[in-house]
C-alpha cells in the first residue's frame, strides 16, 4: 500500500473511529463525574418541553450571543451554520438531490466566517485580551481545512468526489485516483476530526452537561 492509498482508503476510517472514540470518552467521563453540589441556576425552564425549546432556540439562533455580542454572533453563527450546511448539502449531493455548488458555498462561508472571527479577535480589545494561542490555532486549523477542501473540490480531472465518498461509505474505498490536493484535504480534515473531541471545541458534548446536568438539576 502506498502512502496515498493509505490516506485515501484507510485513514478516513481511522479518523472517524478516533473521532467517535474521543467524543464517546468525553461523554462517558463527564457522565461518570458526580455532581455532589447541585449548582443549579434559576429560573430553570419548565419541564422537558421548556428545556428542549430553550436548547433548540439556542442551537439554531445562538440567541445569547445575538443579544449581547452581535459582532461575534455574525461570525460564529455563520460559521456553525456553514458547518451544518456543509454536512446537509453533502448528503443531498451524494444522493444526487443537489448539485455540488451549495457544498462549496458552505465551505466558502465557513472560510470567510473563520477569517472574520480571527480578525475580530485580533482587533476587539476585550476579545484580544481573552484570546490565547489556542483560540487562534483552532480557528486557523479549521480555516486551513476549509481552504484545502475548497481547492480539492474545485472541478478538475475526471474523478468525482461523489464516487470517492460513496466508495468510502460502502466500504469499497477507491482512492487511487485522488489528486495531491484532494489527498491533502482528506488528510487535514481527518486530523481536525481527531483533534476536535480533545480540544476546547468539544462543546457539542459539554453543553448537554452544563445545561441539563448542572444548571437545570433542581434541588
Amino acid at each position: 500500500m502506498t502512502g496515498s492509498e493509505f490516506i485515501a482508503g484507510v485513514f478516513p476510517y481511522i479518523t472517524i473511529g478516533l473521532f467517535l472514540l474521543g467524543t464517546g470518552w468525553r461523554f462517558v467521563r463527564w457522565l461518570s463525574l458526580p455532581a455532589h453540589v447541585k449548582w443549579t441556576l434559576y429560573p430553570v425552564p419548565e419541564g422537558i418541553a421548556g428545556q428542549l425549546r430553550y436548547m433548540i432556540k439556542e442551537i439554531f439562533t445562538f440567541e445569547t450571543l445575538y443579544r449581547f455580542n452581535r459582532r461575534l454572533w455574525i461570525g460564529t453563527f455563520s460559521l456553525h451554520m456553514a458547518m451544518g450546511g456543509f454536512v446537509l448539502f453533502l448528503i443531498l449531493y451524494l444522493a444526487h438531490w443537489s448539485p455540488a455548488f451549495p457544498v462549496r458555498a458552505s465551505l466558502w462561508l465557513l472560510l470567510i466566517s473563520l477569517i472574520y472571527i480571527i480578525w475580530l479577535r485580533m482587533n476587539d480589545r476585550n476579545l484580544r485580551a481573552l484570546s490565547t494561542f489556542e483560540e487562534y490555532f483552532n480557528l486557523a486549523f479549521l480555516a486551513v481545512v476549509a481552504a484545502a477542501s475548497l481547492i480539492a473540490s474545485a472541478p478538475h480531472g475526471l474523478f468525482s468526489p461523489r464516487a470517492y465518498i460513496i466508495g468510502l461509505l460502502t466500504f469499497r474505498p477507491d482512492g487511487v485516483q485522488l489528486t495531491g490536493d484532494q489527498l491533502l484535504a482528506v488528510f487535514l480534515g481527518g486530523l481536525f476530526l481527531i483533534y476536535l473531541p480533545w480540544s476546547k471545541m468539544v462543546h457539542y458534548v459539554s453543553k448537554y452537561f452544563t445545561y441539563h446536568m448542572i444548571n437545570w438539576q433542581k434541588h
Partner: protein, 459 residues
Amino acid sequence: MSEIKDETRGADPKYAFRSEAPLPREERVARLLKTLEGILKAGIYDLPLEMYLNTCAKCNNCAEQCQVYQATGDVRDLPAWRSNLLRRVYRKHFTPSGKLFGRLVGAKEVTEEDIDAMVDGFYRCTMCRRCAVNCPLAVDNALITRIGRVILGDLGFAPKNMTGSVKTQLLDGGNTSAIPKAAFIDTLDFLEEELQDEAGVPIPIPRDVEGAEFLFAAPVSDYIMEADTLIGIAKTFHAAKASWTIGTENFDAINYGLFYSDEKLEKILNRLLAEARRLKCKTLVIGECGHATKAGLLFQKVYGRSEYQDIKIKSILEVSHRFLKEGRLRLDPAKNPDLVTYHDPCNLGRGAGLYEEPRELLRAAVMNYIEMTPTRGMNYCCGGGGGLVIAEDLHTWRMEVGGLKKVEQLRATKAKIVVAPCANCKKQLRELIQFHKLDMELAGLHDVLGKALVFEKNP
C-alpha cells in the same frame, strides 16, 4: 484629620483589603498547587468544576452581564479574563494537554504575581451569577471565583473582617457579631416589648422550646440592625400559630465559609444543624439572608453530618409563603401605602429559585408594587455580594463600582421602599441609598409583612 499609624497595613498596600495572615510570598505558589490538587481530589465539585475549567469559548458574552465590568470597563473585570487566572493554572498542572503543550493550549505556570492578580480579581467579583444566565456554554464564573477564593483562603488571603467574624463565631456559644448570650436575651426581651406595643397583643419570641417544629436562625447581625425584620417574622409565626423557637446556644445563621473556605463552611453548618438537633426541631428555618440560605440548601448533603441529614432546611420566605397560601395570615395592605419595589438577592433568586414566593407575599401586603428592570433571573446584584459587604476596606469600591448599576436601577423605579430579604443586600443597599442620596428607604420583606399583619385585640 488624624492618621492611623499601622505598620502591618503599609506592608502590602497593593491589596485592596487586609488579610489576617497571608503566607510568605515564596510559599504561595507551592501551596496554591497543593490546595487546588486537594480540591480536585476531594470530589465535591467534580462535574461543574471540570466543565467550567475546560470549556470556556472566550466569547466574552459575560462582559455584557457583569455590572462590575460595566462600571469600570477594565479588562481585569472581564469575567472570562478573571476566571482564566485559575483556568490556565489548572490546565498547566492538571491536564495532559496543558502539561505537554503549555501556552499553546492556554496553560500557564502560576507565579506570585498571578496570585496577586487572583487576590485582586476574585474579590472584585460578587459571585452574582448574572453572567452564567446568558453564557452560551453555560459556564458559571461564580463557581470559579468561589474555588479561587477557597484556594486564596488557604493561602491566608481573605478580608480580615470576614475571617475575624468566623473566628468569633466558632468559639463556644459564639456568633459573627460577638453578641454575648445575656445581651442576646436582653435583645429578645426588648423585641417582645416592641411586639406588644405594635400589635397590641402579647407576641412571644419562644426560646429553647424542645420539639418545636421550626428552629429559626437569623443572620445574627439582624439582632443589631434589623429589629423590624425580626418583629415581622415573630408576628408571622404567631399569626400562623406555628410552633417555632430560637435556640439560645446558637442563633447565628451566617456562614461566611461560603465565601472563602469549605472547611469553615462545614463547621458552621454542622454547628447550626446541631442546635436544631439539640432542640429536636424538624426544620431549620434560615432568616432573611441569601448566602446562609444557599450554604444550607446546597451544602447540607455534602457537608452536613450523616446524623443531621433528616433535618430540613428552609428559607423563611418559603415558610411564610406557605402560611399565606394556607390562609393563615390576615393582611391589610393599606398599612403599606407607599410604592414598593423588590430586589432579588442573587443567592435567593438565581441561587435558590425563590422568585415568586416573596412577590406573592409582597403583593398581599402592600398597596403599590413595581418591578425593577431587569428583574428576577437578570436582576442586578446589590454590588456587595459574595461577602464583599463586610470588608470595610472595600466600601468605596462597593459604592462607586460594585453598586453603580444597582443605583441606576433603583432610581428608575421611583419607589419609596426597596425590599430586600437578605442581610448582605440590606447593608449594601442602605449604604448605597445614603451614599448616592436616593429618596428611598430600605426594608426587609418581613418588615413590610409585619406591618400589614392584623391581630385580633380580644381573641
